[in-house]
């Protein structure tokens, strides 16, 4: 069983809410969630990855976050990962993702 993704879009911010298991099966769903807001002239947009309902995260999910970071402009990207439960927080810390993303 994989998770579900919902997106809320505002003026300059896209919030991606991930519920359930965030793993490789979510690849196309996750990509579809941000794709229309990245690339070309869309730089400078803020992304919030809301993990409030995320139960599990695997290394493919970390890979997807890296892909979003790249498509949103790597170092200029403004991506925040929020509401991760402690176990997921630990996984993000082990990978030292706080150096690439804002984690709150």
């Amino acid at each position: 069983m994989s998770g579900t993704i919902s997106v809320t879009r505002e003026e300059s911010e896209t919030v991606i809410n991930i519920k359930g298991r965030f793993n490789f099966e979510m690849h196309s769903q996750f990509r579809a969630a941000y794709q229309e807001d990245t690339g070309g002239d869309k730089k400078g947009r803020r992304f919030v990855i809301n993990l409030a309902g995320t139960e599990y995260i695997d290394s493919s999910a970390l890979g997807m976050l890296l892909l979003l970071r790249e498509e949103a402009g790597t170092n200029e990207s403004d991506i925040e990962i929020t509401n991760a439960r402690p176990e997921i927080q630990k996984i993000l810390e082990t990978a030292n993702f706080q150096r690439l993303f804002k984690i709150s």
Binding site: S59, S60, G63, L66, E93, T94, A95, N96, F97
Partner: protein, 569 residues
């Protein structure tokens, strides 16, 4: 559509033949079950119309035989029946019939049933063709995977020293290809390099990244490069070859029994645990860095943790597949459960097996969801290096010849590169004294680090006397090296051949002369410490003495000359 009619009633048969013939179907006819089966084999019809009550063999039995022999081929059988009771009709289906037609025959119904059967038959043929194609592909894929796996394991395992006496390892790949990469190899000075890498995902795509990584690991280790150099090279390689969403969480470890040092670089793997002689956890080394293959590296990203290696300690390393292994209730094994073993109740030498048993019991029948790797390094065994020369053996023998090479390194170079691999590679490519590489490297490494650490950086070996001092020593070293603005190290290597008259034994003598621009050091005192059987530090000079014919210090101790003899029979 070729149709076989099996009916002992000749009038019925004639009516059907005419009806079907008008529709353009070729018809063959048999008058009892047995003949029907025979004719089915001879004529290979596309559809069978089968009466039930017939002499010699009834319709049910004939249908069963036909269906049995048809195997993959779909041959629809329509029963011709006068019965309309449920039981009778059910029996038709049970015997393998696909439909039934009640007498007397209605032309329109007959026609539409034949059309329906034709559609099913076509669908069946299409499906069966696709199934064949899929099976072919599957076979081909399996064969290619087998070949790939063979190549992969040969490349990745080339020169792997996982059977080194100080290592215990266990790995359980999820699929044919392991996305976890576990390697070990000795560097020329006898230090052991160990690497555990965990690529994103699992299976083939995760495993291909292992190829360039393993090549860099073995190659650079054999040349004497440090963990930091390896990490930097691997990261650069992965950045160029791997897609963005893939990376490699890795931990590299160097165990140097001679220097009594333990060097750890952890980027993205779970905490490395160090356990004492009572089996209690004394130290956890968390991931300090991003995994390999995500961003370009800065100086800080190369940073390693250096500790004094305690001989009665052990190190445990694992991939997250171990701590994230699930049981049937979807609970994870977890770091806490793992650390629970390090409470002093399990003897240290039984910990490895106890943890694997614990994992097995915890998981029960739950399916595995990631590659799992687990490794123990027993420091007390780490001096037992294999006698064998480095794995990248060369069989070429170069006749001894006189030569001389000299190097001059300034502060700028020393700050930014480790020149040792270059030096040893020059010696090896000029002379390649088989079986002596490790010793020559060790002598060079010791002389060079004496010149640098004590000559240029002014570090005091005595600092290393305690474990805390050991860490302090390397912290100071790093700090002073970064701040180094001037100073030179001059190195001269002179070789002269020393072969016996009959040329049965060839060899030579290498004179190594090294001079630093520092204020010199108290080499006489070092000798006295040596004689006093010191615990830490100062080991280097004793080591060089034990391997060289001669070691002499000149000047104020800032120039050393060592001579080393090699022979090859």
């Amino acid at each position: 559509m070729k149709i076989l009619i099996v009916d002992d009633d000749r009038i019925n048969g004639a009516i059907l033949t005419r009806l079907l013939g008008r529709e353009g179907h070729p018809v063959v006819i048999a008058h009892n079950g047995e003949d029907g089966v025979d004719m089915y084999h001879q004529e290979q019809p596309d559809l069978v119309l089968m009466d039930i009550r017939m002499p010699r063999m009834n319709g049910y039995d004939a249908a069963r035989l036909i269906k049995e022999s048809a195997s993959d081929r779909f041959v629809p059988i329509i029963f011709l029946t006068a019965v309309t009771d449920e039981e009778g009709l059910a029996q038709c289906i049970d015997a393998g019939g696909d439909d039934f037609l009640t007498k007397p025959f209605n032309r329109t119904i007959l026609q539409s049933k034949i059309e329906a059967m034709e559609r099913i038959r076509q669908l069946h043929t299409e499906l069966s063709n696709k199934k064949d194609l899929l099976e072919q592909h599957q076979d081909q894929l399996q064969q290619e995977l087998e070949v790939g796996k063979h190549l992969f394991s040969n490349i990745v395992r080339a020169g792997n020293l996982l059977d080194a006496p100080c290592l215990k390892q266990w790995t359980s790949p999820l699929s044919l290809f392991n996305g976890d990469l576990l390697m070990a190899s000795y560097n020329p000075a006898g230090g052991l390099h160990i690497m555990l890498g965990d690529f994103t995902g699992h299976g083939l795509s995760a495993a291909v990244g292992a190829l360039p990584i393993s090549e860099i690991f073995y190659d650079l280790t054999a040349q004497g490069f440090s963990i930091g150099d390896l990490v930097e090279k691997m990261n650069a390689k992965l950045l160029t070859v791997m897609p963005t969403r893939m990376f490699c969480a890795s931990c590299l470890i160097e165990v140097d029994f001679r220097q009594k040092s333990l060097v750890v670089w952890n980027g993205g793997l779970p905490d490395v645990c160090i356990v004492d002689m009572e089996g209690k956890l004394v130290l956890k080394l968390p991931s300090d860095h991003l995994p390999l293959g995500i961003t370009t590296m800065t100086r800080d990203d190369r940073k390693v943790r250096i500790f004094e290696m305690q001989e009665n300690h052990r190190l445990f390393l694992h991939s997250d597949g171990l701590t994230e292994a699930n049981n049937a209730n979807n609970e994870m094994f977890g770091m806490e459960r793992l650390e629970g073993f390090f409470d002093g109740r399990t003897p240290p030498d039984q910990l490895f097996e106890a943890i694997l048993d614990g994992l097995k019991q915890f998981r029960g029948e739950a399916p595995q969801s990631d590659d799992i790797s687990f490794l123990e390094v027993d420091f007390s065994q780490s001096n037992k290096t294999q006698a064998e020369e480095s794995t990248h053996k060369t069989t070429k023998i170069i006749p001894p010849a006189p030569w001389e090479i000299s190097f001059l390194f300034t502060a700028e170079t020393i700050k930014n590169v480790d020149p040792l691999p270059t030096i040893i590679n020059s010696v090896m490519s000029l002379q390649s004294p088989l079986g002596h590489r490790e010793k020559i490297y060790t002598i060079l490494a010791e002389l060079f680090s004496n010149a640098l650490d004590h000559g240029l950086l002014g570090l005091d070996t005595k600092t290393k006397k305690t474990p805390e001092g050991f860490i302090l020593y390397y912290a100071q070293r790093e700090e002073r090296l970064a701040a180094l603005e001037q100073g030179t190290i001059r190195l001269m290597l002179t070789h002269k051949p020393l072969s016996s008259m009959d040329n049965r034994e060839i060899g030579g003598e290498i004179k190594i002369s090294i001079e630093d621009s520092g204020p010199g050091f108290d080499h006489q005192n070092v000798q006295s410490i040596l004689d006093g059987n010191m615990a830490h530090g100062g080991r280097g000079i004793a080591l060089i003495r034990s391997m060289c014919r001669q070691l002499v210090y000149y000047g104020c101790g800032n120039r050393a000359e060592a001579s080393y003899r090699w022979t090859y029979k």
